[in-house]
């Protein structure tokens, strides 16, 4: 099942946290609040990690968030990104 709706956004956010923690080897990223800006300075993600995250979202949820553009509004925070992905997630996407 692919998550959708408000609960879906929370589940997507959890999956994104887990992915970021594993991709960077930084366990503290499992605990970032929804209001955290992912790009820019709040958690110091670089463009390589950002690109990995967007590719993983495409693979797992079937959502192309931004092409290569890391400056979109939907990417403002972990919460806005998770909500954007949850609204558009394809039922036939790869899943976790």
């Amino acid at each position: 099942m692919t998550p959708a709706g408000p609960d879906g956004a929370a589940s997507v956010a959890d999956q994104l946290r887990a992915f970021l923690a594993s991709a960077t080897g930084r366990d503290e990223l499992r605990h970032v609040p929804p209001g955290t800006a992912l790009f820019g300075t709040a958690v110091g993600l670089d463009s390589l990690t950002g690109t990995l995250l967007l590719r993983e979202i495409q693979r797992r949820f079937g959502v192309d968030v931004a092409g290569e553009d890391l400056n979109l509004d939907s990417l403002a925070t972990l919460g806005t990104l998770a909500a954007f992905v949850a609204q558009r997630a394809r039922p036939d996407a790869a899943g976790p």
């Binding site: 991709a23 503290e28 110091g44 670089d46 690109t51 990995l52 590719r55 092409g67």
Partner: protein
């Protein structure tokens, strides 16, 4: 700040431009101490400075050298470790630049050049000011990843990037690179491929930082893989004196600390640049 003696050794020069270099041992200057005066590199020379962020203590007095924008960015970090890395990177950038301009680190004015493609605020630059004539302003590039900071200084546009080897699989990044590089990477054994992907990534970012075009426009518009003459002949990419020349930049792989990859790109495509490692991490 405590004055320290100038670096102990003469900077090394690479003999194999694209193969990295093993510079002689140098005694690192103290973290918050003034560096000895340096001349801005001329011609095809690039100075490269490495700093390990764990080895640097940041004091409240030292932070006074940062400008209000840098202090605001530092405050925005959620985790103290990220804040520390940012503060060290920007303090050391100011220390290094001041060693070329002769001013105090806190007196330097940093600005942003417009992206040549979209006009948005792009590459950070040092602005001329009192005691710093427009012709005397060095070009620089700063990158940090994990616990490492690398700074490149040159007399003409320069871009540097470093990345820590990834904790997991990075094959998804191949789609963001040039198709010719992606095909080359896909043919490598998996472990070798992960390292080579990071190598291509830092090379592509170094070129984009050298031309001033942000990574937001994508980094797959040109091939960057290390190669021999004749290997690379797409999108104006050539190999000159062992160096990949692409987008008007000459690429050099840097010898990076264990677990990191790094590359520097210098504007111009004629001769191989001489990379001088001024400080090792």
């Amino acid at each position: 700040m405590t004055p320290v003696p100038p670096p102990a050794s003469v900077p090394s020069r690479t003999s194999v431009p694209d193969g990295g270099t093993v510079p002689p041992h140098e005694t690192p200057p103290a973290a918050d101490a003034q560096l000895s005066r340096n001349a801005v590199p001329s011609g095809d020379t690039v100075d490269v400075w490495w700093f390990g962020t764990r080895a640097v203590a940041v004091s409240p007095a030292g932070l006074a050298a940062l400008d209000s924008g840098e202090r605001a960015r530092a405050e925005a970090f959620l985790f103290p470790a990220d804040r520390h890395r940012y503060q060290v990177a920007h303090l050391m950038l100011r220390q290094v630049l001041a060693s070329y301009t002769g001013g105090a680190p806190g007196q330097l004015t940093l600005g942003r050049e417009p992206c040549p493609r979209c006009g948005a605020a792009g590459r950070p630059v040092l602005l001329p000011g009192p005691g710093l004539a427009p012709g005397a302003v060095p070009s620089f590039s700063l990158a940090h990843s994990g616990d490492m900071v690398v700074i490149a200084v040159a007399g003409r546009p320069v871009g540097v990037d470093t990345e820590q080897d990834a904790a997991g699989c990075v094959c998804a990044l191949m789609q963001a690179l040039h198709p010719a590089d992606a095909a080359w990477l896909a043919a490598l054994a998996e472990r070798q491929r992960h390292e080579a992907i990071i190598t291509c990534w830092v090379r592509a970012e170094a070129v984009l930082k050298c031309t001033g075009q942000g990574i937001g426009h994508g980094l797959g518009g040109f091939p960057v893989r290390p190669g021999r003459a004749g290997d690379l002949s797409v999108n104006g990419c050539t190999v000159v004196n062992g160096c990949t020349v692409v987008n008007g930049c000459t690429l050099h792989q840097l010898a990076a600390p264990a677990g990191y990859r790094a590359a520097v790109a210098l504007a111009g495509g004629g001769a191989a640049a001489a990379v001088r490692v001024r400080k090792r991490p």
